[in-house]
């Protein structure tokens, strides 16, 4: 029989949801290992980076890389795996477009550190200790990865073969992609896999009533009417500007789409696309009126780039 | 016998940039837009007594007839009633332009001595006392310009005294005279008119 397929999975700057999502395939993982050896999956089995370093280049057939590039470790392992694998898949929203970690790009690193390690209400840190790259312990020097000021996508540090968005990708899509990998039936390099190429509205069953937006609500402020387009109800839903493939699950839960699959169709900036659509829908005939209605659209940047900050045209806040 | 010279204005003798001097008056550029309609002259209660009515003064300014304008009695005839200004279809602040011309004339010692003298004394009174004691004004003015004429005013003076319109006593000075002088000095330092 032919040599078994060699798979690797890695977890960079992300919540770990993607790893769990993979396990979602359940018993089918047994079918998987019939045809594929998992040669690197630190989250699940005890592999060492040195094991990978020891591998010949291109040794791993496919690496599913989840998580954004937030620190020097993320980047160096990304480079290492790129070298050791044939096919690199950016797996999940963080790897594809920055994801939740990339919201950090709206702030300066120092202020984030201060908030996280000293200022936050729940923190007790009288010494004001904060992570430092180099640290001396009795056993000697230990090195911590350096945190980057700007969170980036996997494709910003190494060439990526396939993009599989989703926070996390659905188990259905994961299984489909794994099957494609095993069958060697992957689309041309550079494609998005495990998703559609239209917008979430394509899969959303809610009805449109062609009404204009009089005022905005945040999801927790009202109980939206079932079955009616949330955007028309004044809840910022990013479905129309977001790539399909999730089967509109959030909307089935009566919650707006947060846009985790990234921009739809030909749009090059998911946030701008959303603002353009939403802005066009409000019932205003003067700038003043528009301002008044949009006042309730809180934190536009954090809303429309919740998952896509690293993927956006502007990428981060830069103070003049 | 005197040779007869033609009454022609030779361009070389004109001062075309006189116009720019007027621009120092706030809003002075509007003078460019004058259409010579004569509303100002027709409105002016004093124009019948002027060497040149306001409209022609503007024309002369634009023609660069600097000396003629500054030496004319026109600018001193303006009583600042603003009638020309509120009626001017070109929105020219004519009264202010007359003030501007007065200032240039005073600076260069041109034009009606009597009028400029009056203004000078007035200003001097203020600069010294902060207020303008009318008795002092009248007194200094006529003493300076026409001592003889002063006598001819005796009847009026007496009338005023008998009607209790003229008191005696020294001119009073305002308390903040130094403050006022400081303000004046500051502006003078700026060297603007």
């Amino acid at each position: 029989m032919a040599e078994k397929l060699r798979l690797g999975l890695y977890w960079a700057a992300s919540c770990g949801g993607c790893e769990i999502a993979v396990l979602e395939i359940g018993d089918r993982i047994l079918d998987l290992i019939q045809v594929a050896d998992i040669v690197f999956w630190p989250c699940v089995m005890d592999f060492k980076y040195d094991d990978v370093r020891a591998m010949p280049d291109g040794h791993i057939d496919v690496v599913l890389f989840n998580g954004a590039i937030r620190n020097s470790e993320n980047e160096s392992i990304a480079r290492l795996l790129r070298q050791k694998c044939k096919v690199l898949v950016a797996f999940g929203s963080c790897a594809v477009e920055g994801g939740i970690p990339a919201l950090a790009n709206l702030y300066a690193l120092q202020s984030l550190m201060a908030r996280a390690f000293t200022e936050s209400e729940s923190t007790v840190n009288p010494a004001g200790t904060v992570p430092a790259p180099g640290h001396h312990v009795p056993e000697g020097e230990i090195e911590l990865p350096v945190i980057y000021r700007t969170v980036r996508r996997l494709q910003d540090v190494v060439p990526v073969d396939y993009f599989m968005p989703g926070c996390p990708p659905t188990e259905k899509q994961i299984w489909a992609v794994l099957q494609a990998i095993v069958a060697g039936a992957l689309p041309p390099v550079g494609s998005h896999v495990g998703c559609g190429d239209r917008s979430v509205c394509d899969e959303c069953k809610r009805e449109k009533r062609q009404v204009r937006i009089e005022r905005f609500h945040r999801p927790h402020e009202i109980v939206p009417e079932e079955g009616w387009c949330l955007l028309e109800q004044g809840i910022v839903c990013m479905g129309s500007a977001t790539r399909s493939g999730c089967e509109a699950r959030c909307l089935d839960a009566n919650q707006p789409c947060r846009g985790c699959y990234g921009p739809a169709g030909r749009s090059m900036d998911q946030g701008a696309a959303t603002l353009s659509a939403v802005g066009s829908m409000i019932a205003a005939d003067s700038i003043e009126k528009a301002e008044q209605i949009l006042r309730d659209f809180v934190d536009p940047a954090g809303t429309v780039y919740r998952f896509g900050m690293s993927n956006s045209l502007l990428v981060r806040r830069l103070d003049e | 016998m005197e040779p007869l010279l033609p009454a022609i204005r030779i361009e070389i003798g004109m001062k075309p940039d006189f116009l720019e001097e007027i621009f120092e008056v706030p809003g002075g550029e509007k003078i460019k837009e004058c259409i010579q309609c004569g509303t100002c002259s027709g409105s002016c209660p004093a124009s019948p007594f002027m060497d040149h009515a306001p409209r022609r003064i503007i024309a002369m300014i634009r023609a660069g007839m600097r000396d003629d304008v500054l030496s004319s009695n026109t600018i001193w005839m303006c009583a600042s009633c603003y009638l020309c200004q509120v009626r001017c279809p070109a929105g020219i602040k004519i009264t202010d332009i007359m003030y501007g011309l007065k200032r240039i004339a005073v600076r260069e010692g041109k034009g009606q001595p009597s009028s400029s003298e009056m203004a000078r004394i007035f200003v001097d009174n203020i600069n010294r006392f902060g207020r303008n004691d009318e008795r002092l004004l009248i007194f200094r003015y006529y003493l300076k310009t026409a001592p003889t004429m002063f006598l001819s005013y005796a009847p009026l003076g007496i009338a005023m005294i008998t009607h209790g319109l003229m008191s005696f006593g020294l001119p009073e000075r305002i308390r903040g005279i130094d403050q006022l002088k400081a303000i004046i000095r500051k502006v003078e330092e700026e060297g603007v008119v």
Partner: protein, 150 residues
């Protein structure tokens, strides 16, 4: 920043503002040359993506001009434009881009003079704000392994 010459991109609707800008020329109004227009049929066509793209790729300011509300040649295309305007400005501010770098102005086909004034005013504002240099500053704010090792 006196020597700094801002680059400003203007998106002009063809019916009012582009015609107005032409009128400024026909009547020989003078304004500074830092602005380069892109003609669209209606200000409603202007996609916020273009505005972000302009800022990212080197524009220091973006001006959008359309017909006065109520006078839109396409009835109410400019209502969509003004609906997008405030929220885009607010988002720019969140990215640290001064909202005045992006302006929406109404210029009718008869307001050549106004167009000239709007342009000069915009140039003054942006010149005062200084260059944006988005790409360079973004690169400078991005760390790499090299930085980490050093």
């Amino acid at each position: 920043m006196s020597d700094f010459e801002p680059r400003i991109v203007a998106f002009l609707c063809s019916w009012c503002s582009y015609t107005g800008a032409d009128l400024a020329g026909t009547s020989r109004k003078k304004y500074r040359s830092n602005i380069i227009p892109i003609r669209v049929m209606c200000s409603g066509r202007v996609d916020p993506e273009w505005i972000l793209k302009a800022f990212r790729d080197g524009a220091d300011g973006v001006l959008v001009c359309g017909c006065h509300p109520g006078d839109c040649h396409y009835i109410n295309g400019n209502h969509k434009t003004l609906g997008r305007y405030p929220v885009v400005r607010r988002m720019l501010a969140q990215f640290g881009i001064h909202p005045d770098r992006y302006r929406l102005e109404w210029v009718s086909a008869a307001e050549g003079d106004r167009y000239a004034k709007v342009v000069d005013a915009m140039i003054d504002t942006v010149r005062a704000l200084g260059p944006l240099r988005w790409k360079d500053r973004l690169a400078a704010a991005t760390d790499t392994l090299a930085d980490a090792r050093s």
